[in-house]
Point group: C2
Chain length 384, copies 2
């Protein structure tokens, strides 16, 4: 891959929209490390691993890109160490694109002794209490050390709920940090920097944030501050206007979303990229996601069921095992239970994204969404 990568090193980050259906778009983000088909779901590889999966298996599910967490990696094993070892791609054995978040969200949810100032956030590690600082400049430095392909600007994820003045102050801080992120990022051909829209649930603040980001200029635009407890109805209300406030010709990334029905609704509203720990985290607790909705494999009704979790699914969990086996290994706390259900869930998510891309291309997204909701309303297959 080294030679191929060098050959393409001059290549720019590029986004091509190939089809539209309503507000939805299907396209391709081209990067020197490979193409990202959109709408795209990015599995989360927090600590340089998509939990319970080897990277080859993650790729087999159809993933074009992973997400890495700046906060976790800066603390352990540290960005400097990863850089000395050849960068995050080599370190974790994933040679396709990686998007890294800025650390801004997780420092506020995981770290202790936080002190937020105009400069950035000082905090203590949740692992060993050691003291650190994150700022736009430090976040850009860490993401450069990691070798991230898509870098996120450093922001404050406005808590929910937030009154309008609180939301404005937080958004304005994030916009000042966005400008500093842009300046610190500099020019890095083949690497992209995304800005993050804030503004909570206030359309005019969202519009103001989008305008400020466009002035600064980014390679892509994220919608931040959602999936933080506001619920799907309110999230969709925001998504009825937020994507349209962002540049038409750039990827739009809804951070931290979500459940399959969140994704379908957001794609219908013009979102191109997603990430969420849900498929991997819920897999580790015995929840399998299917076209008929979530299935709790811990439930005793699966104990004697020879049928696969999901008929027709090509993943190893469904191809090689019964619900009875999955029930047994989940109840026995066997690692293979986490492995198989994570594999299934990531497969289900990627198949959903493939369906979304295909039906946008065919102009049949709305009818796909209708049958998606109808099948989920039926619920899981009847017990034997």
């Amino acid at each position: 891959m080294g030679a191929k990568l060098r050959q393409r090193a001059g290549m720019e980050f590029r986004f091509d929209i190939n089809a539209r259906d309503g507000r939805a778009r299907a396209g391709v983000i081209a990067t020197p490390r490979g193409e990202i088909r959109t709408p795209a779901f990015m599995p989360v590889g927090t600590a340089a691993t998509v939990k319970a999966m080897l990277p080859g298996a993650v790729r087999e599910t159809g993933a074009d890109i992973l997400l890495g967490n700046t906060y976790h990696l800066m603390l352990r094993p540290t960005a400097e160490r990863i850089a000395a070892l050849g960068g995050l791609h080599r370190f974790m054995n994933w040679d396709r694109p990686i998007l890294t978040d800025s650390g801004g969200f997780q420092v506020m949810s995981l770290a202790s002794l936080r002190k937020l100032t105009e400069e950035g956030v000082r905090f203590a590690s949740h692992i060993d209490g050691s003291r650190h600082m994150l700022s736009p400049e430090r976040s850009m430095e860490i993401q450069r050390l990691l070798g991230s392909d898509i870098v996120m600007s450093f922001d404050e994820c406005t808590p929910f709920p937030a009154g309008e003045s609180e939301a404005r102050a937080s958004m304005e801080l994030s916009m000042r940090w966005a400008a500093r992120s842009r300046a610190a990022f500099g020019e890095r051909p083949g690497h992209a920097l995304f800005g993050i829209q804030q503004g909570s649930v206030y359309p005019h603040l969202r519009a103001e944030s989008a305008g400020r980001l466009c002035e600064i200029g980014f390679d892509g635009y994220a919608i931040g501050g959602l999936a933080v407890g506001e619920g799907q109805d309110l999230m969709f209300e925001v998504l009825d206007h937020a994507p349209g406030q962002l540049p038409e010709d750039r990827p739009r990334y809804l951070m931290g979303v979500g459940k399959p029905d969140d994704i379908v609704g957001a794609v219908q509203r013009g979102v191109d990229m997603f990430d969420c720990v849900l498929p991997s985290r819920s897999g580790r607790t015995g929840q399998g996601w299917t076209a008929r909705g979530p299935v709790n494999l811990r439930n005793a009704r699966h104990r004697d069921d020879p049928r696969p979790l999901e008929e027709g699914c090509p993943c190893p969990a469904c191809r090689d095992y019964s619900r009875a086996y999955l029930h047994h290994v989940i109840r026995s706390d066997e690692i293979i239970g986490s492995m198989l259900l994570t594999w299934h869930n990531l497969t289900y998510y990627q198949r959903l994204m493939q369906d979304l891309r295909g039906t946008i291309t065919d102009g049949t997204l709305d009818s796909f969404a209708a049958s998606f909701h109808a099948l989920r309303a039926e619920g899981d297959i009847e017990p034997l």
Copy 2:
């Protein structure tokens, strides 16, 4: 595999010795489910899974046969349930041979409220306290329900240390149970029943046990009651005579052994089969086994080391990752650490068995053993 299996259903269990070097033998055990190259190491799949591995990966390491634990499986998910689901092979997606132990050892080490009588052992489950019974007849029934290819007779693993009269009484009980196991097993073409020699560290008791087993007649013979705290010196003393007391033309299986140097020494003394949780269990705690001995990947000296755990090893841990990465994921308690180190350790063990088979065939086992010990004496590669 179904058709192929049916086609071979009439096939007998067979053992062919193809080469000898000193007391060591290299051969093949033929079963309807495939060949087992000996000397063989059997990875342990206690609860219908080799922990942290998919069966396809276990096979890739070179394993011809797995071991399943009767005690664990009878309690959860139960032998009757596995039988209703098509047997253990289908349940756990492993279509090659499976050897099951009798449950005798683990009921004494794991269960509570044990009551041992001539009939068998009554006990309470370590999982939910439910009451159960194991006897020669019940153990044969469970192993038949599981569909085991190599069934172990029900015995009492004599505790160590044991005085001579205690060892004799225990051995004699095991021999009565061996006769009942043989009677209960009946005739099952293509399936094998192994007897288990006891007698602790007393050569005349071992000889008496071997004689009694041969009178009963088994398809293979295990050496039981070792690797229970007696240490390698004493174990090798027993192995200086025990294998020779067993029939020359049948497989000899040393139960629960062991470390790589235990295996080399036992092969030199005429043992053909082994099982041990060590490579998988120690992998989950961060220990990697190499030709230079065990390596503790938790140790900080690996933190910045870009080199593989073991140069030239074809496993994914060594092929795709640095010691620094393995250190990181083990320290971070990431599941991929267990996955990679288990994969490596099982690969190392199977490569060792391949080397043993190859050098026995070439008549160079002793010089192989000498270089095996010399390389281990050198220890792990120097820190960078």
